[in-house]
């Protein structure tokens, strides 16, 4: 039978507020256990929550970025369940009146087309703490540093039809929240986590099949792999005439398989009700418009501008616009060089290769955008040839430079990379090379006119070998002139 895959994602993104959603504790990651948990985070008797308005502002910003309805009245509810890392015995979240209503984003598919994915809603809630199972003699420890960190949970419509679309959606959301500066996007620290709902149905059937939920997948690659392995698992069962059990599953990246979490005998009844300690959050259009005024240029707009105004290919534009910092780096260098295509080639070439090799982010790269821009300028005015430019770049990567554009010029001098563009000097070298290689010259002259462009190659190599740092364009011009005179 032919199956259709149905995927919906729930993404939790930690908001980059300085303090927690209902308390003044710091949200910084990595502190000693329980040092960033005050009486409110510990859920001590008598404490009360006070809503951090910065979290509201960020959630509204997100809503505007995905063109969503903004909840002018949002209400916090209590979701009741017992778990040691949930100090109050309930999670404060938004059930019926979320801050962000229906919105949408567009994802780019591999064939260059794009697909619209609708977002059902996004609501504010508090993160839980962490249970620590090692180092406590068989018991568990609790770290409440994370408890109360603000989250937005972004719920998609079940509109993705394969794992690649799901990964593209997750990437796009990551790109949007980091562009907005409302989430640091650090997947390895759990700043963004993804729950994947996956089901299969016979192609053409309208009714959804039974779904499973893969919890807490925390990389783009694993979203794709986890979903693919879950699709394969479900398909095997269905093809054999079996039934899918609605359950929560975990993805084991080492084995590349999903497995059922300990199943609960009965479904949880969370007994939601409006939190009586918090007033409904009321905002008006003025508030929304004030937030809208702070929206930065978003990935889609930037991508379109890169493609339309600067002539980049759609793929180049998409890659460069996906990451806000990379895009900024690219644009800074491109503006200095006044050459977007050259900058795009460099950023996607040497810069990206270096980032991958060193496993660092663009902000950690020792070569500043200003320095790259200067290198590109020097390429354009023929001071550097491509090889020399790479040499300077690599020297900067190794820390030989102080971040300033001037240090690029100093390196060019000290490394002796300034290329020779003086045609007089080059003419002398060309004359020497031609004189020393009569057979090659003979061969060239015997070559039909229309194939001579290729036959000139060996001369260029010989000239550059004889004199390092010569400008290849000038060499070409001189060679053509000299050869045509023979």
């Amino acid at each position: 039978m032919e199956w259709e895959v149905v995927i919906g994602l729930e993404i939790h993104a930690q908001l980059a507020t300085k303090s927690k959603i209902f308390s003044g504790s710091s949200t910084a990651y990595g502190a000693e256990a329980n040092t960033q948990a005050n009486a409110i985070d510990l859920g001590l008797p008598g404490v009360l929550p006070a809503f951090n308005e910065e979290a509201l502002r960020m959630a509204v910003k997100f809503g505007l970025a995905i063109d969503a309805e903004i909840g002018l009245k949002s209400v916090f509810d209590r979701k009741n369940y017992f778990y040691p890392d949930s100090p109050k015995g309930y999670q404060t979240t938004q059930l019926h009146h979320p801050i962000v209503g229906i919105g949408h984003i567009d994802i780019e598919l591999e064939d260059g087309s794009s697909k619209r994915i609708n977002v059902t809603r996004a609501h504010l809630e508090e993160d839980a703490g962490k249970s620590v199972h090692e180092g406590f003699n068989g018991m568990s420890g609790i770290d409440l540093n994370r408890a109360g960190t603000p989250l937005i949970e972004i719920v998609s419509e079940p509109e993705m039809r394969n794992a690649k679309e799901a990964a593209a959606y997750f990437r796009k959301m990551h790109s949007i929240v980091t562009y907005l500066g409302i989430c640091d996007g650090d997947l390895s620290q759990g700043s963004m986590r993804c729950d994947c709902n996956v089901s299969l149905r016979p192609k053409g059937q309208e009714e959804f099949g039974t779904r499973t939920e893969i919890k807490n997948v925390n990389s783009f690659r694993n979203v794709e792999r986890a979903i693919d392995s879950e699709i394969a698992r479900q398909m095997d069962i269905l093809e054999d005439g079996g039934k899918i059990i609605q359950e929560t599953r975990l993805y084991d990246a080492d084995k590349n398989e999903t497995r059922a979490m300990r199943s609960k005998e009965v479904a949880n009844d969370y007994r939601y009700f409006p939190c009586p300690d918090l007033l409904p959050v009321i905002i008006d259009d003025n508030y929304v418009e004030a937030v809208r005024a702070t929206l930065p240029e978003l990935p889609d707009a930037k991508r379109a501008r890169f493609a339309h105004s600067h002539g980049l290919s759609p793929i180049d534009a998409a890659v460069l616009a996906a990451n806000r910092e990379l895009a900024h780096y690219f644009e800074t260098a491109a503006k200095i060089a006044n050459d977007y295509k050259l900058a795009a080639n460099w950023v996607q070439g040497d810069v990206s290769a270096t980032l991958n090799r060193l496993e660092i982010s663009i902000s950690e790269l020792a070569v500043s955008a200003e320095q790259l821009g200067r290198i590109l300028q020097l390429i354009k005015d023929s001071t550097l040839n491509n090889g020399g430019a790479k040499e300077v770049f690599n020297a900067l990567v190794e820390g030989k430079g102080d971040g300033s554009a001037e240090s690029v010029d100093k390196l060019v001098d000290s490394l002796g990379l300034k290329q020779v563009s003086d045609s007089g000097a080059i003419e002398a070298i060309v004359a020497e090379v031609l004189a020393a290689n009569p057979k090659l010259v003979e061969g060239y002259l015997a070559t039909p006119e229309d194939k001579r462009a290729k036959a000139i190659g060996p001369f260029i190599g010989l000239v550059r070998k004889a004199a390092k740092g010569v400008n290849p364009q000038v060499v070409m011009d001189v060679l053509q002139k000299k050869l045509s005179e023979l």
């Binding site: 009486a39 510990l42 859920g43 001590l44 008797p45 008598g46 404490v47 009360l48 929550p49 006070a50 809503f51 209590r78 009741n80 017992f82 040691p84 100090p87 109050k88 015995g89 309930y90 568990s140 609790i142 009844d269 007994r271 939601y272 009700f273 009586p276 300690d277 918090l278 007033l279």
Partner: protein
């Protein structure tokens, strides 16, 4: 010294009649010698009280004394007190030393008051007789066989027994007004949002309000001056100017329109009770007030609505008492579920468990609309009743309770019978209105309370009306015969 009011003590300290240390020692001794009879205190913080008294005397010597400097009082054990055991009357918190002060505790400390300790109460403020406390029942100083009312029974008994001149208390369904009525005292429950709830251990968050139990309305005004005001730590606290509540006590009440809800003078209210309340109303008429019969047609829905909303909220509020981070934990838990089940099973008393179960049921899937949502709708109807009434009258009056203090054990077998105790008081909490109870007579030598209900944030008018009654009558001065009880 012990029979003095807060206002008396404030004046005496200012006049140098005695020092704060002297009156503090006097009351501490009195507590030591007699409280075994009433069981009104859970914790007596002698050392801290004397230190506060010494500091207050030093402040006075330096010429920096205010109305409250060196005045002794005590807190209901529902308020967190930094470094002091805070139990909420429960085994669950029988080892909980609060690491912070409730806002109102901080306010009294800053005002220079001397806290003598923590007062007994029904477990987690759930009860109308103070029989559900893990620390034992509190006895009514008017009659040792009778209850002092609840849940602020310790606050009421301590003031009636003249162990403290005034105490903080809290009121979720009548927990200030009913014990004040049973013990012949003045109880004040302010408007919801007038006083911060920060540090007051939550029973039902949308109904809980901190207030006072004192002997006089003047003392209530003095306490409210310290307690009232905005607190950013409590989102439900209202940012609204706090008047000097003592400044309007002596205003004339001539022309005041008093509404008498016909639903509060039902035929099943005993003739004796009716008579005492009617006498008090007549007293007001003599002072120039006008009386008007009104109707609060949804009164009969108050108790059913309350017993959905309050348990629902408490079922979540008490979830944090799980044995994981603080409070009681069972011996040798086998796993996390065992730890939860036994810690909570052993740590909570029967009434608390009953309300958690009722609340969890009312909120559960499939029942929410029929119970919780419906109760919230009823709540709006009740609120509207009062809003309509206050278009016609300035103040509403009636009995605080259907009966005077009942005997211990009389109503413990039938929870619903106990719940009906709060028939006249509970609607105010649902509406968020301020209310008072003042002593207005006696039936069988037991005090009877007159309830005064004010419009939102109209505490000044309530205190004014209560004070004027106390200027014209002496019911508030009547005290139980403490001599016979003291020599134990």
């Amino acid at each position: 010294m012990h029979n003095k009011t807060i206002a008396d003590i404030s004046r005496d300290l200012a006049a140098g009649e005695y020092s704060s240390v002297e009156i503090t020692e006097n009351l501490l001794n009195r507590i030591k010698n007699t409280d075994a009879h009433y069981n009104s205190f859970i914790t007596v913080s002698e050392e801290q009280a004397l230190a506060q008294a010494k500091a207050a005397d030093a402040r006075r010597a330096a010429g920096n004394a205010d109305a409250w400097t060196g005045v002794p009082m005590a807190h209901k054990d529902i308020f967190c007190t930094n470094g002091v055991l805070t139990t909420c009357g429960s085994k669950m918190l029988s080892n909980f030393i609060a690491p912070y002060d409730a806002t109102i505790v901080e306010n009294f400390n800053n005002a220079g008051a001397v806290s003598l300790g923590k007062l007994n109460m029904d477990e987690f403020a759930m009860g109308s007789s103070n029989e559900s406390s893990f620390y034992g029942a509190v006895k009514n100083p008017w009659d040792g066989e009778r209850v002092p009312g609840g849940s602020s029974g310790g606050s009421a008994a301590a003031v009636a027994a003249q162990l403290v001149p005034g105490a903080t208390a809290s009121d979720t369904g009548g927990s200030i007004r009913q014990p004040a009525a049973f013990c012949g005292l003045t109880g004040l429950k302010p408007t919801y949002g007038r006083v911060s709830r920060w540090g007051m251990i939550a029973y039902a968050s949308s109904l809980d309000q901190a207030g006072t139990i004192t002997r006089t309305a003047e003392d209530s005004a003095m306490m409210l001056n310290v307690m009232a005001g905005f607190d950013a730590k409590d989102s439900t606290c209202v940012d609204r100017e706090v008047p000097d509540y003592t400044a309007t006590l002596n205003n004339s009440i001539a022309g005041l329109t008093i509404g008498l809800p016909k639903e509060y003078f039902r035929s099943d209210l005993s003739a004796d009770m009716q008579q005492q309340v009617r006498n008090a109303i007549a007293e007001y008429e003599k002072m120039g007030a006008k009386v008007k019969e009104i109707s609060l047609p949804n009164t009969h829905l108050a108790i059913p609505a309350y017993y959905i909303i309050a348990p629902a909220e408490c079922s979540a509020n008490l979830s944090r008492m799980d044995g994981v981070r603080f409070g009681y934990r069972c011996e040798n838990p086998q796993d996390i579920n065992d730890l939860y089940k036994r810690s909570r099973g052993e740590g909570f008393g029967i009434e608390v468990k009953r309300r958690i179960m009722v609340g969890a049921y009312a909120l559960s899937a499939g029942f929410y609309d029929a119970y919780y949502k419906k109760a919230q709708q009823v709540r709006r109807l009740i609120r509207n009743d009062f809003v309509n009434a206050f278009n016609e009258v300035d103040i509403i009056m009636g009995p605080t309770t259907p009966t005077p203090a009942f005997k211990r054990g009389e109503k413990t077998a039938d929870p619903v019978d106990m719940y009906l105790e709060d028939i006249f008081t509970i609607a105010l909490n649902l509406a968020g209105l301020p209310g008072m109870s003042i002593s207005c007579g006696q039936v069988n030598n037991l005090p009877v309370g007159l309830q005064l209900i004010g419009n939102y944030f109209d505490e000044g008018r309530l205190l004014n009306a209560a004070h004027q009654f106390q200027q014209h009558t002496d019911w508030h001065l009547k005290t139980p015969d403490l001599k016979n009880q003291a020599d134990i």
